[in-house]
Amino acid sequence: MSTKIVTARVGLPNSYALSSYLEHGGYQSLKKALLEMTPEEVQAEVTASGMLGRGGAGFETGRKWSMLKQDPVRYLVVNGDESEPSTFKDHLLVENDPHQLVEGTLITAYAIGATRAFIYLRGEFALGLERVQAAINEAYAYGAIGRNILGSGFSVDLVLQPGAGAYICGEETALIESLEGKRGYPRIKPPYFPAVIGLYGAPTIVNNVETMSNVPWIVANGGNAFAALGKGRSTGTRLFALSGDVLRPGNYELEMTSKTFRDLIYDPEFGGGLREGRSVKAFIPGGVSAPWFGPENLDLPLGQDEVAQAGSMLGSGSIIVLDDHSCAVRAAWRITKFFNRESCGQCTPCREGSGWIEKIMHRLELGSGTETDLDLVLDACDNIAPGLTWPPQQTTICVLGPSIPSSVVSAIKMFRDEFMIHIKEEGCPFVH
């Protein structure tokens, strides 16, 4: 029996409506937190849960909250700008269980004493924006948001903010700039954490949608119950977004470390395997910023440290599978094209480098490249992330730039022969 936390109500009729949410225990955790617990008790439960942030960086949620500078004005911002390629877990949560997100946000606002809370959703989630706004409207009418919430004496307002199409706004300081009505330019560090200087210059906690969606369960069941799931630093469940060359792509909520990549990809309950006669050539374990894995890593458990120790990252929890009929050069080229398009343009290594890398990768894919292009593209990568190490060295304001080399380096390291065929045959040998 697998435990479902954030997707427990997904699939119920009208799971997004208040009536359905209340029927299935909705807003009981908010009531418990506001009426029976002090803010520090709520925070202690979240700390005990050991929950790592579900956005990609994997920072301990309780620790993040404890770093919030205790100024009189402080904010909570929920990061729902889900744009990491092949990540579509928050998309599921905002459309199917917006009240769970709202409840988690309100509990967190209480725990950290936020003056106001904001949910920033990517603009392309038109239906998600409608569902979350409708949930906020219903929650106000129900008395769960606004003045004197559920008779507790605690008041807070919650505002839904739409994005407008920019990957970089997932970076928390860029998101804050965007929420201030500006271009989504990441802020220069230090300060490293918005918990010191964030929205409107005030201390701010930025948490991911999935992170917030776990909070009601943690308050209801206790941090220890959450920590009992998973292993080591990987506690609780995670929503894994599986895509690419598998028969059943989709979101699967799994207890952390309980399954391996092979289970996720091949189990008929999850990915259902590959098309007849095909095999895994490579997979990307945590969004396109992550170094690739080959079939030899299929038996790694889906855990934060397990993946990190093997030289990549679990990141946003999205797994992309390439089978032996898919072209690694083409996939790597498309990823560099994405970064080139989404570079905000502030830092030279990223702005210029991403363009050069995309051009070289494109001509390699088209078959007009040369063998020296392989060295040239690696050299360009080295200018963005010197040493081409993992995790990468930082030359830019944010991590977008240094994320570019991962796929290029992985593809060249793992599939040099494939590049050579492109060069020799002056074209891509795969059928598209």
């Binding site: 579509f88 409608e130 008041s155 407008a164 500006k182 996939a331 598209h432």
Partner: protein, 212 residues
């Protein structure tokens, strides 16, 4: 002459009131303007600037950063075909080529009748339905070439006007909530919460008291 209709002007004023600093309403106001007019005209940017107390050039400077904010005219339906990696593996680039043939415009182009603008977009988080597309940010997928042609035909003949509204991601559901709790009340509450917390911590930890 106001750009916003009276109804939208009322909505605009609600949006401006949601933030400690009204410039935060810039993106929501741009969505509102696009909902009314399809794209951000000069008049729209001037009025948004007036509402926010900033120059129209600052509205333009911000809006031009974002893919969804159009400073030039677009078709009634903006069709975004995703070619990012999950869609690529599912045939997204080929779908984009086909879309371009069907609509008769390259990515970035608008059909002569003003019905469709075709865009090549980055991942829109619909990867389990690859290859996918969005029309005015409503999802469709997985799409074969035939599915795409049927979609275009349905749109052109107004058969999807319920599921695909005209522009503006804020056009169908709007904030319906009481006015914001005055910040003085919130600040007073938080001061009391913080003092109560300090007192509790001091009671638990008499030694640490006073060091805070």
């Amino acid at each position: 002459m106001s750009f916003f209709t009276p109804e939208n002007l009322e909505k605009a004023q609600v949006l401006v009131g949601l933030y400690p600093d009204k410039r935060s309403a810039l993106i929501p106001l741009c969505h509102l303007a696009q909902g009314q007019h399809g794209h951000l005209s000069k008049e729209a940017m001037e009025e948004i600037g007036d509402l926010l107390g900033i120059q129209p050039a600052e509205v333009m400077g911000t809006a031009s950063f974002y893919d969804m904010l159009h400073t030039e005219e677009v078709g009634k339906y903006v069709v975004g075909v995703c070619t990012n990696v999950a869609c690529l593996l599912g045939g997204g680039l080929e779908l984009l080529d086909h879309a371009s043939d069907t609509l008769g415009v390259p990515p970035g182009g608008t059909t002569e009748d003003g019905m469709f603008t075709l865009e090549e977009v980055e991942c829109v988080a619909h990867c389990d339905k690859a290859p996918c597309a969005q029309v005015n940010y409503r999802y469709f997928g997985p799409l074969s070439n035939g599915d795409f042609d049927k979609l275009v035909d349905d749109l052109a003949n107004d058969r999807l006007s319920d599921s695909v509204p005209p522009h503006g991601v804020l056009s169908r559901v709007f904030r319906d909530a009481p006015p914001m709790v005055p910040l003085e009340i919130i600040h007073q509450e938080r001061r009391e919460m913080d003092e109560a917390k300090k007192a509790r911590l001091a009671a638990q930890n008499p030694d640490a008291g006073g060091k805070q």
